[in-house]
Symmetry: C2
Subunit: 383 residues, 2 copies
């Protein structure tokens, strides 16, 4: 079986690796180099119980995917002998005021109701648990099962593992068009043409721009995220050290790496395909980070990054085949959770493509839910 | 005559070029590559009537140096055929509140008293003069004779012009020590030794760290400055365009280049030799720039830079020979005005070294004013 995967971000790379490892012949096409879209500006936080709400499909997918992460990372590390930055050291969600503490209390209640471990902390306990926190933090909720992964090292391991299983990566490829048939699908690049048993469109924010003949575009829009890359200030003597875990505030989150690198994310901006780091993005994150962890004000500023997250109108991932074009499978719309959801997405897609096994979650994530793809609509408009 | 110049920042490069062009054999030693100290983070503003106060020696030096700038830049451009970014488009000093406007009014008064052109602007006149200004700007003082220069292009032209006149640049050089004699001076690097008729120490913030045998170090301290490099946001349609001149506020100044580059400077920090760009430095400048020119909030963030300005205890430049070691001339302590003062410094040093002509300003700038260098002091302390 030959599968063409369009997109080599975290989702495309994970899907390609899973397919290749399970025996498919895989070609990955990307318009840039691997991991340069939303993945480029991801802080790699694995926090389904902060990102998703009670009883939602996103929470189900997130918890399923988080459960896969230990073995996902271990397998990639073993296959490639690459070090993958990864820690399940928890996330500390903090409230800087009474209103925030009240919302945090509500989270605590529903997490307790579904049996998810989360520890409520205030006062001296919190100070000694995380001395770097701002003194005006009211309360915090520690979720010990959460964690973070180094996205660049993860993508490097995924692409290498996929290559070890025979996958090929081609980039940059311009102007991809997919032409579905009953038994297969063609992919046309500018000067090349691929015929595949299945095509997986995992092009992130650009997924709606991949022309699929006879099918309306998936309604994915880009949501800009800016991220700061800092270095925790050297602390001679007994000064306050690096936080021991992800700290998550109302206006930013902070991922401290054991080597002193610190990622601060992320803005959430409706800016179309404008992939610029802006002065105000940097200012907003710098301000929020300093309020959360005052020592960060003296952190070394290394760089600012930007990525466009792919968002569907309902905020849920878009995973599955088109009813009208079953040889074309999409895997996009992961919004802020592409890194978290990559393992489960890869398994769902590979189960479907290789074994015809349809994960029940596909009923929720199907691209057909937008009413696109089910009928051909002619969109020719007067120019 | 052989002159060794220690330091290839804006001052060292200008001194070397002047000496070489006027016939000296010049060797320039730098611990880094040219222009990597304070010059690296300079916005290149030429504004003696904003930086200096009425009746001060700094104002005299600044106005003398500004008067040299047109021919300085023209000569370098002709000699090297290099484009030097330079404009005498004025500076617009703005006040964001009533207290600032009052201080600005005082500046206007003393400038008028000494016959310096400066135009007071408020209200609709100011809006039409500079539409990008924040609406809450109270008043502004336009000084049409001020300007700015692109420091990197200027240093590149200076070093090339010096080389055309036979100067040699050696870098990186470690651990320089100067040994003065009556008729000459030796310079010892780690593995090299130079004998010169005169040694010029123009090592910026590091000038106090150049050991000069028998002479106490010049009391220069580094004052950190951080600078942002932005790009004015593209403005489709009739949106607000790039400012036409330097805009100078209470908390930052903004230098718009015709190509859309924008420099925002600068922090003033006592941070020793800590040459880091910090989160708070970036945040402070971003905040101030957005308050001054709101359109800048959407500017593209390209980079942040840092430099250490050399400051003497009295804030004045330190230029001239040591009484005890007349073959060693210093040229440092230019603090925030190295770029402005480079031409006059070069002329003062070359007049002295080549022609024995002692500029009266040397009475003010002499290193002997600190009581160092006039007697050998043994500083051996118990360890």
């Amino acid at each position: 079986m030959h599968v063409v995967v369009v997109g080599a971000g975290i989702v495309g790379a994970a899907v390609a690796e899973e397919l290749a490892r399970r025996g498919a012949t895989v070609t990955v096409l990307d318009m840039r180099s691997p991991g340069r879209g939303a993945s480029h500006a991801s802080a790699g936080i694995l926090a389904p119980h902060t990102e998703a709400h009670e009883g939602t499909p996103l929470l189900d997918l997130g918890t399923r995917s988080l459960a896969l992460y230990d073995s996902f990372v271990a397998r990639l590390g073993e296959r490639t002998r690459r070090a993958i930055d990864y820690a399940r050291s928890g996330t500390l969600e903090v409230a800087l005021d009474a209103a925030g503490a009240s919302a945090l209390g509500a989270s605590r209640a529903w997490l307790a109701a579904i049996g998810v471990p989360a520890e409520w902390m205030t006062g001296a306990d919190l100070r000694s648990f995380e001395p770097a926190l701002a003194p005006d933090v009211e309360a915090a909720l520690f979720k010990p099962h959460h964690g973070w992964v180094g996205v660049q090292s993860l993508i490097a391991a995924l692409t290498e593992s996929a290559r070890l299983a025979g996958a090929t990566f081609e980039s940059p490829i311009a102007a991809v068009e997919v032409v579905p048939h009953t038994t297969h699908a063609d992919v046309r690049a500018v000067d090349r043409r691929y015929t595949a048993d299945t095509v997986v469109v995992a092009a992130g924010s650009w997924s709606g721009q991949i022309r699929i003949a006879g099918i309306d575009p998936v309604p994915i829009r880009p949501v800009r995220g800016q991220l700061l890359h800092l270095e925790w200030p050297a602390t001679p003597g007994a000064a306050i050290g690096l936080p021991s875990r992800v700290v998550w505030g109302a206006d930013c989150y902070v991922v401290p790496w054991p080597d002193g690198s610190v990622l601060v994310g992320a803005t959430v901006e409706e800016a179309g395909f404008d992939e610029r780091v802006t002065l105000d993005g940097v200012r907003t994150l710098a301000d929020a980070a300093g309020r959360l962890l005052p020592r960060l004000r003296d952190a070394t500023f290394l760089a600012a990054r930007v990525g466009l997250r792919p968002a569907a109108p309902d905020g849920l991932p878009v995973i599955g085949p088109f009813g009208e074009a079953p040889r074309v499978v999409v895997a996009t719309g992961h919004y802020r959770n592409g890194v978290l959801l990559a393992p489960v997405t890869a398994v769902m897609v590979a189960d479907l493509v290789l074994d015809g096994r349809r994960d029940p979650a596909l009923d929720v994530t199907t691209p057909d839910r937008f009413g696109v793809g089910s009928t051909r609509k002619n969109r020719e408009e007067p120019s």
